[in-house]
Amino acid sequence: MSDFKPRIVAFVCNWCTYAGADLTGTSRMKYSPQVTIIRFPCTGRIDFMLLLKAFANGADGIIVSGCHPNDCHYSSGNFHARRRWIVFRALLDFLGIDVRRVQFSWVSAAEGAKWAQLVNATSESIRQLGPFSGFHRLRGLGVE
């Protein structure tokens, strides 16, 4: 298991976290390459179904990240998203799905170092949890 490389999908908002991740790169900071970044207009656009689809398609862990409270480009997208996550996490936990597989965070456009830390920490914690075989096993007929 020590050579297990987790597949992490990051759903990030365009205005803060994506720009923050850009800053990580332009600052020449190195961080775990296990992450696939998907850019969204806003965390308010990140539907819970997208997270399920990421797991279904082989993700071992997920990062969802956007603007800090009160910094949303659309004023309240992240506030609405936060409520959705609260409920979604509770539902996942109730269904026996490990919520440690989904890491939520606020990373601003100025927090390149925080992005690197977040990905590294998440990558490490997911590596310790191991492959998400419990979910990947569910792939039955023809959903590719």
Binding site: F48, R84, W85, V87, F94, G96, V99, F104, R139
Partner: protein, 277 residues
Amino acid sequence: METLANIARELLAAGTVQTVIGYGHGSGEAALTRTHTQTQARAVFIRDVAKAGSLIFDASCQQNLAVYLMKPEVRRLGKAALVATPAALRTILQLAAENQVSDHDLLALAVNGQGEVALLATLAAIEAHVAALDNDLKPGEIAELQKYAALDLEQRRQFWEEQFSRCLKCYACRGACPLCYCSRCTVECNQPQWIPVPAHDLGNLEWNVMRAMHLAGRCVNCGDCSRACPVGIPLHLLNQKLISEVLDNFDSRSGMAAKADNAMSTFKPDDPEDFIR
């Protein structure tokens, strides 16, 4: 149930409503299925004064008749009087809060286990009536949720995997739910295909998660999803879990007011975020 029939006759004769949606005797023997359906009552749509005598109300009348308020073919019948259990009254208020029904569409004949009937002519009257009821989860329901919460993660996963493995994707839960009224459901979208059509484990999980999430902050705990499920999946548990979460985290109850924000489409700046890094 003479009073129910009498009220129905008066309302129809006076032209106050064009149809009375209530319960009548169903066909067949009392069937005790894997779900907790008792005997066979069915919805009846009374439009003729002479037929008002067929209205019944007893312990077998559990269906949330508010589901019909959103059906186009029922709406075309005109203003309705709806025989409404407490859960159906909450449904009406929730539908009103979502701008789906107004005072012009209906009045309610509130019924309870004691056989009392109250004519509630406006949403405001329904609101006042509901406010006097106990609308929160019952102690037994909370105890059941705690029972599952006490299991470890893997036990819960196995429990739900077994439950969902029986799901047929028949969408009876969706059809029975008065708050699943989208004219086009995500399930019918196939570009992209969000929910796979065949009833396999992954699609069954995704469907049931989606159903629960789309009812978060809206479900009024009528239990019709579980009653409708032909394979006896305890869907109400998922709804009750989210009802308790929405209450605990947002101090919000659905189906209490005709004008209210949905818990999931509003926010407070200080909503909990201890899980966000």
